[in-house]
């Protein structure tokens, strides 16, 4: 709420620090993930992969970035100049802004600090590692995710190329379809948490389901819950469709559509689409981590409300996100692309009814007091 929050200069500085940390991490996702993807695919296909630039080819991504910057920026003569230029940014914005409502660590009390006789932080100020702790957090995620369609649609339309157009229409139809099951799967999470606020969702998951013999404790992560695994599967598979990753990457199916919606793009504009794809992947992994894998929670360990506890929980969060992103890569190089009509059929006739059924099941569990 803007009106009833007392904001002082320290809060603004802390907000800027949070934004800088997350933005820095998320902008570095792309070069790292490109390397992981290429080395990972090489590992899966039993070949060496890029290994010339830097140790293990680590600098290959930077060489690629340099190449993108130096390439000629082409705007097709028939294209709508304004929208053609703006489209890559439209794709990037949802991926970068969604992360603002995801908590990435345990809140801790900032200790009193004195530098040169001046009090830097007064005692008792809490650092909450989330950029915007809004009380409609889950809805904000889906609101911003639903804007991801525009980047692709505008890119495809403004290129005035029929392959781009086909790619764009396919991608947006696919994203709209899978958004439904994505949202409905997440409804069960907010039923369990009883709140739309993502910090509450994480707090609920850092509890335990039951304690056996005093030491056998099952963490209350949503993925471990007997009623939630169905919701997790729906959400996870829909996330692949939502981020346009294989086996659902019809937007850019090379064999059918040249390169899909970004056929006409070159140079940094193309690189922006590339970045948007990987950042959307990272954001989606962060959302899955928060909703189903307990967020920053470390099981069987009670993080203290100090900087050390924050650091541990932050590392746990990043470890979970990295693991999910590795699964994204793993799946891409393992499962072949589906057919487009099968994709739509799965979305509308299988996942959507299943997601609704899942809500009923979870509601029954809650009504029965088992959850």
């Amino acid at each position: 709420m803007p009106s009833n929050v007392a904001f002082d200069a320290t809060d603004i500085v802390l907000s800027i620090v949070k934004i800088a940390v997350i933005l820095g991490l998320w902008l570095n996702v792309t070069p790292i993930m490109v390397w992981v993807e290429r080395r990972g695919s090489a590992l899966i296909q039993d070949r060496p992969g890029p290994n010339r630039v830097g140790p293990f080819g680590l600098l290959q991504s930077f060489a690629d970035a340099l190449k993108f910057i130096l390439k000629e920026d082409i705007i097709p003569a028939q294209a709508h100049k304004w929208l053609y230029t703006l489209a890559p940014t439209f794709g990037l914005i949802p991926a970068l802004t969604t992360i603002a409502v995801v908590p990435w660590g345990r809140a801790f009390v900032i200790p009193e600090m004195h530098i040169l006789g001046r009090t830097l932080f007064e005692g008792g100020r809490v650092f909450n590692p989330i950029i915007a702790d809004v009380n409609a957090g889950i809805l904000v995620i889906f609101a911003l995710a639903s804007l991801g369609v525009y980047g692709i649609t505008i890119a495809g339309w403004s290129s005035s190329n029929k392959y781009s157009m086909f790619g764009a229409i396919r991608a947006s139809a696919q994203m709209i379809s899978y958004e439904l099951s994505l949202t409905l799967a997440a409804v069960s999470v907010l039923l369990v948490a009883g709140s739309l606020r993502l910090t509450d969702v994480v707090a609920q998951q850092s509890d335990y389901y039951f304690v056996l013999f005093g030491f056998l404790k099952l963490p209350a992560w949503n993925i471990a819950s007997p009623a939630m695994w169905l919701s997790f599967i729906i959400f996870f598979v829909s996330a692949f469709a939502e981020t346009n990753r294989l086996p659902f990457d019809f937007a850019e199916a090379e064999a059918e559509l040249v390169a899909g919606y970004h056929t006409e793009y070159s140079s940094m504009k193309f690189a922006l689409f590339f970045m948007a794809e990987y950042m959307a992947m990272a954001t989606m992994s962060a959302v899955i981590t928060t909703l189903y894998l307990g967020g920053w929670d470390i099981p069987w360990y009670n993080e203290p409300a100090t900087f050390f506890g924050f650091l541990l929980s932050f590392l746990a969060f990043m470890a979970k996100v990295s693991f999910l992103m590795f699964i994204f890569v793993w799946v891409r190089w393992t499962i072949p692309r589906l057919k487009y009509d099968i994709l739509m059929r799965i979305g509308w006739k299988f996942f959507l009814p299943l997601a609704i059924l899942n809500i009923v099941i979870v509601a029954a569990f809650i009504a029965g007091g088992w959850l």
């Binding site: 929208l83 809805l139 804007l147 709209i176």
Partner: protein, 172 residues
């Protein structure tokens, strides 16, 4: 600070709304409308209804305007130039709406409350949900039937004219 945000996004909303009605290209119009709706969502946050702000973006920007954009692209409307209306119609339209606006602002400044509301207004999902399912259960069910009727109607209307493959996309 609050006033700065308000006037910035009010200007965004009004300018993009003007682009909607003045620009010849319907794709640009639809995208400007999205920007205008987004600015309105910011207004909703300023009005302490973040829940409805999120719904505004999900429903209007994420669903309805995508549908508009789809239809404009499928019908390929942006390449057919739109004939302008008769000058007399233009003149009457602009003058009458200007008179309408002046009248509205006159009456708002004369009769509307100019005091700020007192206290904090809590409008989170819980309050809205409780109110909705206590007092508005019947309208809620009616709306769900209406939506179902709209789905069936849209499928029927567009499915008759188009071949089966593309109609399934438009119906969504």
């Amino acid at each position: 600070m609050e006033y700065a945000i308000f006037f910035l996004f009010a200007a965004v909303a009004v300018i993009f709304a003007l682009v909607v009605i003045l620009h010849r290209n319907p794709v640009v119009g639809a995208l400007s409308l999205v920007a205008s709706f987004f600015a309105l969502a910011v207004m909703y946050v300023l009005l302490e209804a973040p829940f409805l702000a999120a719904l505004q973006v999900i429903v209007y920007a994420g669903a309805i305007m995508v549908l508009f954009l789809f239809v404009i692209m499928l019908l390929n409307l942006s390449h057919a130039p739109e004939p302008s209306t008769r000058p007399i119609q233009q003149f009457l339209g602009y003058t009458s709406s200007a008179a309408f606006l002046i009248g509205l602002i006159y009456y708002i400044s004369k009769y509307a409350v100019t005091t700020s509301p007192t206290g904090v207004f809590q409008a989170d999902a819980r309050t809205i949900g409780i109110r909705m399912f206590e007092a508005y259960v019947f309208p809620f069910e009616m709306v769900s039937i209406l939506l179902l009727a709209a789905i069936v109607g849209a499928l029927y209307l567009s499915g008759r004219a188009l071949p089966a493959a593309s109609s399934s996309e438009v119906g969504k």
